[in-house]
């Protein structure tokens, strides 16, 4: 598998989480997998950090080197993302079955306890024949083989489905085929995902979570707002334009609705309202 895992840190880097994620990737290392920290120009590493990252085979580049092979993928993650055991093995399996197609990853929430979420998940699937078969084969209560045993994916063609846009447009947590990236947009951006999605006929959804992720609109509302604005600059065809406009409006409204918990200032809220007023109300029939 030729995969670049590109870690995009938050404004204030959580070094513990970064090292934890890098170590988790290293523990699952596959041939062909490269990890990069996309460090903003205004941030610097201490010697100790550099040494630790080097030991975990993490490169540090603001413009990451993309895989050069035609079947390469890029996966953007934040340093606060949790990588579940066996994740890379599952990504490799799905991309080898259905190459050159973006893969949207199901996630657990990184603000809730993982154990509880896994227990809930397994309880919800208690009647699944595969889980029952596992229990006949093993009396171990190790949860990971159970999650791997439930893993499945679907090839989805309803690309403009409004309800699913958030999971497909988030800049982190989607395996992006390198051959379809556009140099016109940052690798880590809603705009990149949007242009890619609008050119596609299908996307893969990996249904059992392999990462523990956060939500951009909840965790970094302003960054998400910037992403949305950048998305507006993507040249879309007549079919996609109203779809994104509708999504853009709904996301702005959502940001405003949760303005207090997102700790947006009055000025920032005014800015959102201004933007909202400028967007024409279109009805995307999707």
């Amino acid at each position: 598998m030729n995969l670049l895992i590109n870690i995009v840190p938050n404004e204030t880097i959580s070094w513990d989480r970064l090292l934890q994620l890098s170590a988790a990737i290293e523990a699952q290392r596959f041939a062909g997998v490269v990890t990069n920290l996309q460090l903003p120009a205004n941030q610097e590493l201490t010697g100790a950090h550099q040494a630790k990252l080097a030991a975990l085979h993490v490169t540090v580049q603001e413009q990451p080197q993309l895989p050069t092979t035609a079947d390469g993928y890029v996966l953007n993650l934040r340093e606060t993302t949790g990588l579940l055991p066996g994740a890379l093995a599952q990504w490799q399996s799905v991309t080898s079955q259905h190459a050159n197609t973006p893969v949207s990853l199901a996630t657990f929430d990184n603000q809730l306890p993982l154990d509880e979420q896994i227990n809930d998940y397994l309880t919800a699937h208690a009647n699944n024949g595969l889980l029952r078969t596992y229990q006949q084969l093993s009396d171990s209560d190790n949860v990971w083989p159970q999650l791997w045993g439930l893993q499945n994916y679907s090839v989805q063609t309803n690309l403009k489905n409004f309800r699913l846009l958030s999971q497909r447009l988030r800049p982190t947590g989607v395996l992006l085929p390198v051959s379809q990236l556009s140099p016109d947009y940052p690798v880590v951006s809603l705009a990149q995902n949007l242009q890619l999605l609008s050119q596609q006929t299908e996307i893969i959804r990996l249904h059992v979570p392999t990462i523990q992720n956060g939500s951009w609109s909840r965790d970094t509302p302003l960054a998400w707002f910037n992403q949305l604005q950048l998305g507006q600059r993507v040249t879309l065809n007549a079919e996609w334009e109203p779809v994104f406009e509708k999504y853009y409006r709904s996301q702005l409204k959502r940001l405003l609705k949760h303005a207090d918990e997102n700790q947006l200032t009055e000025a920032q809220q005014d800015l959102l309202r201004d933007q909202l007023e400028q967007v024409p109300v279109l009805d995307a029939h999707h």
């Binding site: 490799q92 399996s93 799905v94 079955q97 595969l130 006949q136 084969l137 083989p145 893993q151 249904h207």
Partner: protein
């Protein structure tokens, strides 16, 4: 682990064995022998039979599938036996996956490669699969719609690196790499229908021999029961692969190539019940397996038997009924009455117990239960279908109306085509002599509702059902509903709707995208046609093989709809139509009528091709003399913005009668649409704008015409070519004069403006009074 693959084969199936051999060659593990049970001699020394695995032929008697499999089992040498039918095939990892699982389990399990039903033939899938190049690509689903798998199981790659701090048992690791579902313990007899299917099952040979398991050699339709049921009983588990790896190709042409399960056999029900009985007696009474199997059979009787033996809907011939009842009584007496009482309830229980006791059919109760079910269905659908039920039960028993004619064009979508031409001819020639009933969808305009003696009815409404049942004559240009009842005293005229360009019905290789039983349904529907109109000798020849329709019942008349194009007053009519559409009389007209490219070639929502004809340039260079009339699929035109082209473009895609658009236009631009057959009657220039000709190659292979040699106009791939042709139409006419002449001779020799008269005289015959207004 060594497999013996067992394939029974009829002589007619030899050809598909080659495809299966090629498929087996692709298996990632080749430790197997292939036993072909076939009584037709096969020269296995020939190069086409060379393979990396041994192939043996087995002959057998009697000539039944059961005997074929039994004989092959006796001669097999493999540790495990796999049953695979000659028209089915495997995914490349099937045998390797099963072998990996078997290596971790004891020999008393039954492996299931997990059938994937499809109507897509093996060769069609191989071709399309090669084009997509995607590993998880599967043929089109041919099972029940609600069971269509929406997700793919994801096995871990064998080189997957897993965390060292969570050690995984080797059996679990194998399972993660080749996942399967296990039926054992309480679950052993669940999903019995699936477990009982023999194709794609892998069983231990020694186990089979030790228990002397055999297929039924005397039941030619249902040989599996006495083998599969005890096999389930002597194995501890069925392990079904999560991935579908056995592709079962269902037959979509039951008329010409029926599978064993599609063969027309009046004794089918009796044979089915015999199979159940021979299977059931192999298990100890009151065992879990016995009870599960008996319950399944009782449910099947409950669900399917009554309609098959009811007076009105029955399919079992009366002379077969005594044998069926005798067999059924014997079978039911194997099952304890208590189990029947526990499984069935109400009327159904009483019927089954009565047959068990007396061996006689309580016909009235059976009829009532069928009647009640139909009624129940309507109630559950909140009344939907009640008009259809009334049609079936009562309306078709009302007296016929000898002077009523029912017309339908394109399923009620418009007032057009040959039914319209016939109707107008009848109105002109025999005014007041007939009652005309037009089937129209709600809100369709124009419609003939205000014409004298004419009634318009909504398709599938109550009045529609009434006239469908009681009209003496029916004139329809597509297919009648599947449930249409042809009353013997009625006359049905199929006008059809065009000279065939693309392969039809029995000439189609693959109808996976249509109803899988399309061919069978079409066959039965077309048997209800008393006459079929053919526009030319070419159509006669095509319809004969494509519809399997007898030529002596075809009306070799030309198309009534085309009479307009030869009418003596056609110029005056053209002027009137132009005025109606608001097109300036001094402008010439280019008609652009491209075909609809479906999703196989362009994703839904991709309308790029509509821009391929450079309308702006056409306007710039020809706008002084011409206007452009667009006639495309509504789906495209709804998304096509023509506002920038002012009075140059007229979008007439929803205009009801395309013949009228032919009449007003001076030149036609089309591509793979059959519109050019009719347009050529006008002897006006035709251009084929085929910018995607190469991409359309696979479709063109399914055409009756050779697009390179048979057309009356040029194939043009660029806008430059189109413009150049339009700038010098006289030169084009000269260049294609011979081709045009040949084309007209071949396709339009019968079009003289009097087709309607010929059709009416032939079809209505004695029912016609003396003409009131003789048309010229």
């Amino acid at each position: 682990m060594f497999y013996s693959l067992i394939t029974p084969c009829l002589p007619s199936e030899l050809q598909q064995l080659h495809a299966l051999k090629e498929n087996l060659t692709l298996q990632t593990m080749q430790d197997f022998e292939w036993l072909i049970a076939c009584n037709q001699p096969i020269d296995l020394s020939q190069p086409e039979w060379q393979a990396p695995f041994p192939i043996h032929q087995i002959t057998f008697t009697p000539a039944t599938v059961g005997a074929a499999r039994n004989q092959a089992i006796q001669q097999a040498t493999g540790d495990w036996l796999l049953f695979i039918d000659s028209d089915d095939y495997l995914l490349p990892n099937a045998l390797a996956d099963a072998a990996a699982i078997a290596a971790t389990r004891s020999s008393d399990v039954l492996l299931d490669l997990n059938q994937y039903p499809t109507y897509e033939p093996h060769d069609a899938f191989v071709t399309s699969h090669a084009e997509t190049g995607v590993a998880d690509d599967m043929p089109k689903w041919g099972g029940r719609k609600r069971l269509r798998p929406k997700r793919h199981a994801l096995n871990l790659a064998t080189n997957a690196v897993l965390p060292t701090d969570t050690p995984v048992d080797p059996t679990v690791m194998t399972w993660l790499q080749h996942r399967y579902l296990e039926h054992s313990g309480d679950n052993r007899w669940a999903g019995l229908d699936r477990q009982l299917k023999v194709s794609g099952k892998i069983a231990n040979r020694k186990l089979i021999l030790a228990h002397q398991l055999k297929f039924n050699e005397t039941n030619d339709l249902y040989p599996d029961g006495p083998f599969m049921l005890p096999l389930l009983n002597v194995t501890t588990s069925t392990l079904r692969l999560s991935q579908h790896t056995y592709i079962r190709v269902k037959h979509n042409d039951p008329i010409n190539h029926p599978s064993v399960h599609q063969q027309d056999d009046p004794r089918r029900w009796a044979k089915r019940i015999q199979d159940w009985q021979t299977a059931l007696v192999t298990l100890p009474n009151d065992s879990d397996g016995f009870n599960a199997y008996a319950t399944r059979d009782l449910h099947r009787l409950h669900r399917y038997l009554y309609a098959a033996v009811a007076t009105r809907t029955g399919t079992v011939p009366a002379e077969q009924l005594p044998e069926l009842l005798h067999t059924l009584q014997a079978f039911l007496n194997v099952i304890p009455a208590s189990l029947i009482k526990q499984t069935l309830h109400g009327q159904s229980r009483r019927i089954i117990l009565a047959i068990r006791r007396d061996g006689r059919l309580p016909q009235r109760q059976v009829n009532r239960i069928v009647w009640m079910r139909e009624l129940n269905r309507i109630i559950h659908r909140h009344g939907r279908g009640s008009a259809k039920l009334a049609y079936r039960w009562w309306l078709t028993k009302l007296p016929l109306k000898p002077k009523t004619i029912l017309y339908e064009s394109f399923l009620g979508r418009n007032y057009s085509d040959s039914p319209k031409a016939i109707y107008e001819y009848m109105q002109r020639t025999y005014p007041g002599q007939f009652h005309h009933v037009w089937v129209m969808n709600k809100g369709v305009e124009p419609n003939p509702g205000k014409q004298p003696n004419t009634t318009v009815v909504k398709r599938f409404g109550w009045r529609y059902m009434y006239y469908l049942a009681t009209s003496k004559f029916q004139v329809i240009n597509m297919r009648q509903p599947k449930w249409f009842i042809k009353r013997p005293e009625t006359k049905f005229l199929s006008t059809w709707h065009g000279t065939p360009l693309k392969h039809l019905v029995f000439d189609m290789d693959n109808v996976a995208s249509a109803n899988p039983l399309y061919k069978q349904i079409f066959y039965h529907q077309s048997r209800q046609w008393d006459n079929l109109i053919a526009a030319n000798q070419f159509s006669v020849d095509v319809f004969e093989h494509a519809f399997m329709y007898p030529t002596d019942r075809m009306l070799k008349s030309g198309y009534p709809r085309n009479d307009l194009l030869n009418a003596p007053d056609k110029d005056a009519k053209a002027r009137a139509i132009k005025e109606k559409l608001g097109i300036p009389l001094d402008k010439k007209i280019i008609l652009y009528a491209p075909t609809w490219r479906d999703d196989d070639y362009y994703g839904v929502g991709d309308y790029k091709f509509t821009l391929k004809l450079d309308i702006a340039r056409l306007r710039r260079e020809l706008g002084d003399d011409y206007v452009l009339v667009l006639r495309t699929h509504y789906f495209i035109t709804e998304h096509l913005d023509t506002t920038g082209f002012g009075d140059f473009v007229y979008n007439e895609s929803s205009y009801n009668d395309i013949s009228e658009l032919y009449l007003i236009s001076d030149v036609l631009i089309t591509d793979y649409s059959s519109v050019f057959f009719d347009y050529a009657i006008l002897k006006r220039p035709i251009l084929y704008f085929v910018y995607d000709y190469e991409k359309y190659g696979s479709v063109l292979r399914g055409f009756y015409l050779n697009m390179e040699t048979d057309l009356p106009g040029p194939l043009l791939k660029t806008n430059d070519d189109v413009l150049a042709a339009l700038h010098d139409l006289p030169a084009l006419k000269r260049e294609y004069a011979d081709a045009y002449h040949k084309f007209s001779e071949r396709f339009n020799a019968w079009e003289d403006g009097h087709a309607s008269q010929r059709v009416v005289d032939a079809f209505f015959g004695d029912a016609l009074p003396a003409p009131t207004n003789k048309t010229k």
